[in-house]
Amino acid sequence: MFEPPVQRLIDELSRLPGVGQKSAQRLAFHLLNVEEADARRLADSITEMRSTVRLCNRCFNATADAECTICVDTRRDTSSICVVERAQDIPVIERTQLFKGRYHVLGGAMSPIAGIGPEQLRMSELEARVGAEGVTEVIAATNPTVEGDTTAMYIAQLLKPLGVKVTKLASGLPVGGDLDYADEVTLGRALAGRQEL
């Protein structure tokens, strides 16, 4: 046991994802040793984020305003929506600079084991947007897991009756890598999804 204030911080830090007891201790003592201003800046940024950032009314991305910067951007194509499991997936797709439409954050993937069905996700909100925003294509960018794939299938089943095109991301080889470094499963998927030249 450490001094109660130190222990309290260690307990809080170790509740963060990916942080174990040992890392929490290291972080806590690091924060004890740096300039007080540096430690305060971290504390302030956490407080500020929590008090100012909320969920976008339209797509449920993180935002400081009623709608996120992507949703209010008039240059974005409103006819296509890219559906992601979590808000942190958005910057990843944005970095490709290839998708010009808007997003929709589901808040997870379907998993009956975890008690997550369509009602626990923002499916009805997605359905409403497709009807209201004149959407013609929905891209299901869920994770390539059993749960993510199933969620993509559910989206397709939900939206097909609305006459909208539903697509999902292709999976295959990483670009710029050697073929012999690819694992069998990825290579297998790439082979199954091969394209004619």
Binding site: P112, I113, V146, D149, T150, Q157, D183, V185
Partner: protein, 362 residues
């Protein structure tokens, strides 16, 4: 392939063990409970990523320890692979291959192919269909990493569908069930195809092995399916057939709140001259078929991987009569073999003898 060294830390009775076996036959001699089988179990773990005794990981940790570690060096061709597993008493296990996390645990199956012979191998013949499904699935996973991955996916999708049925019963939302049916069908079709491919690939080896250990007649797999998989030729037809079967069984599945059709309920059986070995073969015939299954697996792995797997024989010779033992030995003694025996008297196989007692091997 052979194991060049094995290190155990707080694994079963071993506080710290370093064991450098020979490339050939290694005979572990010791009293009951001395820890002979534990050495085989550790080697088997490196190959299958679970205990062949069917116990949970925490049963492998030495009493009073926080975690167990198994490390081994496997030589195959020109290179040596190091596989390391840490099993903590709580939390997830860590697997490292050459110091790095493998992308998937199934990849380690390729590094350390093992075949295990156990005294209760007769179970594969005598017990219910589950052990025969496991035999086919385990062997497929050892041969093809994709098969291991597909099995994991099927298991995952099935558990999700079952969770949905358990929660919803007759009120289960059909729209949600539709998509889980779809996912189960995609993965289930692959599992069935792996089993089918495996049974075909195994057939010749099984047939030869059965003759070599002194059997007469011919052995075949017969695959009884809980759904119409026989008329389906390719993966797409299998998927459609399973999807239809799932829809058909839906009312019953909702009633019993679990999935009643699919590869997890199928019944692979072994026929001897067209008769089911489980019910109609003699004890002697059953024992011969069980041996042929292990030797057939050994040969198939050798054939596909172009390298001999590591063979683990746990107290097998005490169960074999002299005649069968005499026939089995020449079939296996050319690779690396680990044999356990309680008595230091005549074994039908020669090799380097190791004395096992009080947590040491010397």
């Amino acid at each position: 392939m052979h194991l060049t060294w094995l290190e155990l830390v707080n694994f079963r009775p071993y506080e710290a063990l370093r064991f450098e076996p020979t490339e050939g036959v290694n005979i572990l001699v010791g009293e009951n409970g001395a820890g002979k089988t534990s050495v085989l179990e550790a080697i088997g773990y490196l190959g299958m990523m679970r205990s062949f005794r069917g116990v949970p990981d925490r049963a492998l940790i030495r009493e009073g320890s926080a975690s167990a570690v198994i490390r081994g060096g496997i030589a195959g061709g020109a290179s040596e692979t190091t596989v390391e597993v840490e099993l903590p008493s709580d939390g997830r296990r860590t697997v490292l291959v050459n110091g790095k996390r493998p992308r998937r645990v199934h990849d380690t199956f390729l590094s350390v192919p093992v075949v295990v012979f156990l005294p209760d191998d007769l179970d594969v013949i005598k017990r219910g269909p589950r052990v025969r499904r496991e035999y086919l699935d385990d062997l497929a996973a050892t041969l093809w990493p994709q098969a291991g991955q597909d099995l994991t996916e099927y298991d995952r999708a099935l558990r999700q569908r079952n969770a949905l049925l358990r929660q919803g019963g007759r009120e289960t939302d059909t729209g949600t069930l539709d998509v889980w049916d779809g996912r189960v069908a995609v993965a289930g079709a692959k599992v069935l195809l792996h089993r089918r491919t495996l049974a075909v690939a195994l057939q010749t080896h099984l047939h030869h092995a059965y003759k070599e250990v002194g059997g007469s007649g011919s052995v075949h797999w017969m695959y009884r399916s809980t759904w119409d998989s026989h008329s389906a030729g390719d993966i797409e037809a299998l998927r459609v057939a399973l999807a239809e079967a799932l829809v058909e069984s839906r009312p019953r599945d909702m009633d019993v709140r679990t999935t009643t059709v699919g590869p997890h309920r199928d019944e692979p059986d072994l026929l001897l001259d067209g008769r089911p070995t489980r019910t109609e073969a003699s004890q002697g015939e059953q024992r011969t078929v069980a041996l042929a299954l292990r030797i057939g697996a050994y040969r198939l792995i050798e054939d596909v991987r172009d390298q001999k797997p590591i063979l683990l024989l746990d107290d097998v010779f005490s169960e074999l009569d002299k005649e069968r033992a005499r026939r089995v030995v020449p079939l296996i003694e050319n690779g690396q073999v680990f044999v356990t025996t309680a008595r230091d008297d005549e074994l039908p196989i020669r090799g380097r003898r190791w004395s096992v007692s009080e947590g040491s091997v010397s």
